[in-house]
Symmetry: D2
Subunit: 309 residues, 4 copies
């Protein structure tokens, strides 16, 4: 294998206000599969095209947002190596035992990022019961449901200390920067897009005064046709649309933003270029932020800038 | 960066019988960009979405086929490391100086594979003059032409010693196996699909008595819509169709096969899953080869099996 | 209204060998809606985008094929007018009372065509219970199922006396000819495509020694993406594929042919030009029949020519 | 032929401020074909999929807007018949000689609508030199350019007296109403969609104090994929976007609105249902106007309501 070290964003635990409505949203509309429920009431979901046990955990509580996001790494040995480097970098880590709160997951190392978010790192996770076929496989066992999300794609995190967090991501986790957005003063990066693989981003981070905020969690769709179908489902099901269907200048992905019933922003995302580590970083100056994010209208809407969870 | 070692298939030199017709085919119909011409008459082409100097070299001669295929690696240091390992593995290598025959390319190490093909490895290549934009980039400078091939995707090679070649690819180059097709006797692999990244394959190899044969070179298209448009262009332009539009069971890609004017088989390929190194290998027994390659008809056509260049 | 006289092909009664399998095929896979069942066991189906009571009646018996096909006309007055003209033309007609065998349908006039098929004409039919919305309508109430057939599109009938039948269709029913395929001797038309509206065809007729045969019944899909999804469903559900996904030269439609469990050929059809009555007739000589029907491969398969029901 | 009487909207003469920029817009970006230039400097264009001589005439002057829109009817006899009925209805008509100002066009009858617009009616027009093929036709001679507009689709006209104009369109021209939007007081129709064929609309009319205004002229695209490609071209070419890509609730079409360099609003439109004259009229109350026009965001933008030419 030549994808090494950190492999991908693999798990997010979201806080939701109403579990029943959330399941309807993520399962019936977005099309994730229901995997199971914990004794404490948390619900686990996965994309139909994923092998790992689950990629979303939903926790019912009284505020929306993200408990943590997690990235899978190549091996436990590598996990030890980056844990040491993380501590040496100056971040605090917490050790979470295998199978303690995420069924099927091996031990995790929870890192508190300079932006205030918790990032878990893990090397082991059991395969889901219902994975894609592997012996003379059909493309799927049955036609995907709803928006037909294949699985988790990426997240955009808002918080302070983007520079230090970027340093951590690139120097310790060895993520690649795909694109950067300069701040209005052009003195540094306001937003950085980072990837562990061919995707345009596994994580993006935006400088923001309040720590630990989630702008959106993105799920992967097949193509532009699927984006249009997602838009149709949003309207027919009275889902709160944020923006789209449209394209990003940044990542070149085709996209639609909307909110889950708790106010967490979701994105369904398709297309975009394949990133390779020898590609140059794409740069955006602040004057072009509209084109970068909302490639067609070239103007961000207020809600997109101000609403986070 | 966490894509390390071998990065991707990046270059193929094809033998063609008529340069003018070949340029019309690869540039006007497939949509590659014309980069330039060598003093010896060879012509260099690239995909509109690629950064490197070129991805296809065409050499006019009296037999079709492939002179060599080449993979890009992360660094010259790594190139040295795998060169030693290649020699230790027992394969012969030849050293090719920078800018000697491929303008813009750094030094290459040419490996003679057990299957009889020449595989070049290289770490350095200059950026093309006309790359995708990197400063407040548009998605493209002008709408892609013809089939709108983004760039090179993969190749399928036919020759003897698939097992030994697989061993070399996985142990020395550390490629990941994505899928295997068992031989009729179920005693080993008849075909192996290998990747250096998230693609379903950078290279596939098939056991065949004659060494050094090319089954097809694949170019990447955007999606199923682009596959249909490619089919339309094939018919309108009287290109020799082989099979498709269709889907593969293997890689799950959407595809159409056709021949260049010299009889080299081309594929235009879209979609398919994103491979990660922690995914299980998908296996096909020989009885399902039809479904694996021609997912809709489930039967290979004679031409697909017997015609190579 | 300026679509007058004959409006469209609106109903077909098919003979099937196994009702349960047929329902699974037409409802779960093709995506028609189950409307209801007659006391004699016949089952009625409709497309999700149709207003009329039903468009397909399935009758279980021991041979596959078509009992009759039916076209809707603008008014009972017009029905009387063409009934008289039909008799004057020399064809026999039979009168079928309203609601006698097709629930919701007004009286029908059954014409025995020179090709041996029974063509019913009717002016009145009740709206289905579950029609598309008409008050502040959503695009659909829920996402279409399976191949997402919108409704019936056309049929291709095989039988003798194409010339006389064409004369009847154009002179009495005032259908427009959109395309013709010349016979091998170029002495007349082997196949004629006819329409009552903007579609490429409501009916096509092909000269064939055996009377009253059905080559295929076509259902309308949204676009090329839907054709690809239909192909995926065919393979995953082990439906017997005939040909495609592909495009026709004739009508320019995008298409896939397959068989229902009884051996009746189905087509799912999308795209194609919009016909207007002032457009010239497109002509095909016999040497180009391959290109006309199988626009990509340019060769008909044996099954397509020889298998009818 | 069973499409009778009025056949379709076939021609619009637009006023533009700068001919060179307008040609670049309509030919290079929208993809119409350049047909020729009149001695007075007017330029004629057509869609690649149209047979008639031209569908757009551009006239350079100092205000944007529409000189007239024109509908083709089945025959000169029918033209005489509706001319008499038009006069009897109380509208003034003007007779325009064949080939006087629109090359290739037969005589026209220019009707001044109660809304203030000029509607021309004509029965005869020469075929263009460069029509779609009719003998063993390819789907197109070369791949369509730019947005790949197939031809003219419809227009939305703003002006007073929608009720009286509707009466004229339905009683004299026998157009079908497909949808209506009620006024805020629910005392009548604010907007009416009318068709002569299977399209969702050939013309739509909206009650507005100022007479003779053009809201937009719509061109037909192939499908949702083409809408997305149009959006890409709009952004890359700095065309002034109005709204979309999106779907309409009304007509169910997929759409994007933008402005030509003179400020005339264009629409590129795909999909939508096939209308038949036996279909019920779809009704929208004023509270749902947002959903009806901007099906995804459900809110009209200010520009869409207030900018006409």
């Amino acid at each position: 294998m030549t994808i090494k070290g950190v492999i991908r964003t693999g798990l997010i635990q979201l806080r939701v206000l109403d579990m029943e409505k959330s399941i309807r949203h993520y399962v019936d509309i977005i099309g994730l599969e229901y995997v199971g429920k914990a004794e404490d009431g948390r619900v686990f979901l996965k994309g139909y095209d994923e092998f790992d046990h689950h990629c979303v955990a939903l926790r019912e509580t009284d505020t929306a947002g993200m408990d943590f996001i997690a990235m899978k790494v190549e091996s436990d040995e590598y996990l030890k190596e980056i844990t040491e480097k993380t501590i040496a970098f100056g971040l605090t880590v917490e050790h979470i035992e295998a199978n303690s709160d995420q069924p099927g997951f091996g031990r995790r190392v929870a890192v508190t990022l300079p932006m205030g978010h918790r990032l878990d790192l893990y090397a082991e996770v059991e395969m889901a019961e219902d994975t894609p076929m592997t012996m003379n496989p059909d493309i799927w066992k049955q036609a995907p449901r709803g928006m037909a999300a294949l699985g988790i794609d990426h997240a955009l995190l808002f918080g302070p200390n983007v520079d230090l967090t970027t340093k951590y991501f690139t120097e310790v986790l060895e993520l690649s920067i795909t694109e950067v957005l300069k701040n209005p003063e052009n003195t540094g990066n306001m937003t950085v897009w980072l990837t562990a693989n061919n995707k345009g981003h596994d994580l993006a981070i935006l400088e923001y005064p309040e720590p630990g905020k989630l702008h959106h969690i993105g799920f992967k769709l097949e193509d532009w046709h699927a984006i249009g179908h997602a838009a149709d489902l949003i309207s027919v099901n009275d889902v709160a649309l944020d923006a789209g269907p449209m394209r990003h200048g940044i990542t070149r992905g085709q996209t639609i933003y909307f909110f889950d019933p708790s106010g967490n922003r979701n994105e369904t995302f398709a297309g975009g270029y394949a990133h390779y580590p020898d590609h140059p970083v794409r740069e955006w100056d602040f004057a072009h932020v509209g084109k970068g994010i909302f490639y067609y209208t070239r103007e961000l809407n207020e809600r997109f800038i101000n609403v986070v969870s």
